[in-house]
Amino acid sequence: MSGNTVSEFFSMGGSGFYVWSAYGVAAVVMLGLLGSSLAWHRRLTGQLRNKSRRSASAPPVALDKTGGDWP
């Protein structure tokens, strides 16, 4: 074990503030992004779950007013 006591471990040889704030920032940024992405996914699936089945698979639209059918 590098530091024998826990407090020495946290002091990181005097530059503990910088080391732990670096890791803290990393944790905040990465977990924050992960959290927001998961929330986005949950919101989307919830929103789209109650989407009704009728959607874009409508029949072809071409109607020929002059009677001739499309070849």
């Binding site: 005097g14 910088y18 080391v19 992004l33 992405s37 699936t45 874009a56």
Partner: protein
């Protein structure tokens, strides 16, 4: 591989692979942290402040790697119009920007104990800052265009131009740095990597890569739902797999 590119198959496939990748990443992160923070000996020169390296260096590597993936996926989306490639490109951008911002913040946190200032116009930090602007430009352009597909394809052009320009930017900043070399030799970067320090660094790099892949899968699935919202499979999938 061919039908994996179909949006619905990709959505289901990525859903299956998400949990195993996430667990592996978690495990990898824990071992990396323990190894780097506890096991690795302090550096004879910098003492323990060098441990910031285990976060700074992987995020710097990942910021470049994610940009390469973004530009590559963008190129595929432009040429072959594959929707999954568009989705991967536009899902990667925020992750890459986060890695770049992280690299800058941890870099300046590491610089403070070493040189006493929060920001140094060091070649690597400066080109990392410019990379951040490339990411921000990409995301700003993509937000500015309404139609999702056009937005991603336009941003893909920017990503490709940026990818061509990135080595040039790096070289010109390196050259510029040596020209305006501050008198004190500021050799930034990891101290001579000793075996006991390299191993945790590589483990942490793997952990960051795992984090990127799992987050990419999550965001890509969201982008896919957004873009395919009018297709029938979206409704079924949301009902099928809560």
């Amino acid at each position: 591989m061919q039908q994996l590119l179909a949006p619905k198959n990709f959505y289901l496939w990525s859903g299956r692979w998400l949990r195993p990748v996430a667990w592996a990443t978690g495990l990898c992160t824990l071992t990396g942290l323990y190894w780097g923070l506890v096991v690795a000996p302090p550096d004879y020169q910098q003492g323990d402040s060098y441990r910031i390296m285990f976060v700074h260096v992987p995020s710097a590597w990942m910021s470049l790697f994610v940009y390469a993936v973004m530009a590559g996926a963008g190129a595929v989306a432009l040429v072959w119009r594959i929707k999954v490639a568009e989705v991967v490109a536009s899902a990667s951008a925020p992750i890459g920007a986060a890695f770049t911002a992280l690299a800058l913040m941890t870099g300046s946190l590491w610089g403070k104990p070493m040189w006493g200032t929060w920001w140094v116009w060091d070649a690597r930090l400066t080109s990392e800052l410019l990379l951040l602007f490339l990411y921000l430009g990409y995301m700003a352009l993509e937000q500015a265009i309404e139609d999702r597909r056009t937005a991603t394809r336009a941003a893909a052009v920017l990503a490709l131009v940026g990818a061509v320009d990135l080595p040039i930017i790096h070289y010109s900043v390196e050259w510029w740095h040596t020209l305006h070399q501050a008198p004190t030799v500021t050799r930034f970067g990891a101290p001579a990597i000793h075996g006991s320090m390299l191993a945790p660094l590589l483990v942490m790099a793997l952990a960051f890569f795992g984090y990127y892949v799992s987050l990419l899968l999550v965001r890509a699935r969201c982008e896919l739902l957004e873009r395919e919202r009018t297709n029938p499979w979206v409704g079924e999938v949301c009902r099928g797999i809560p």
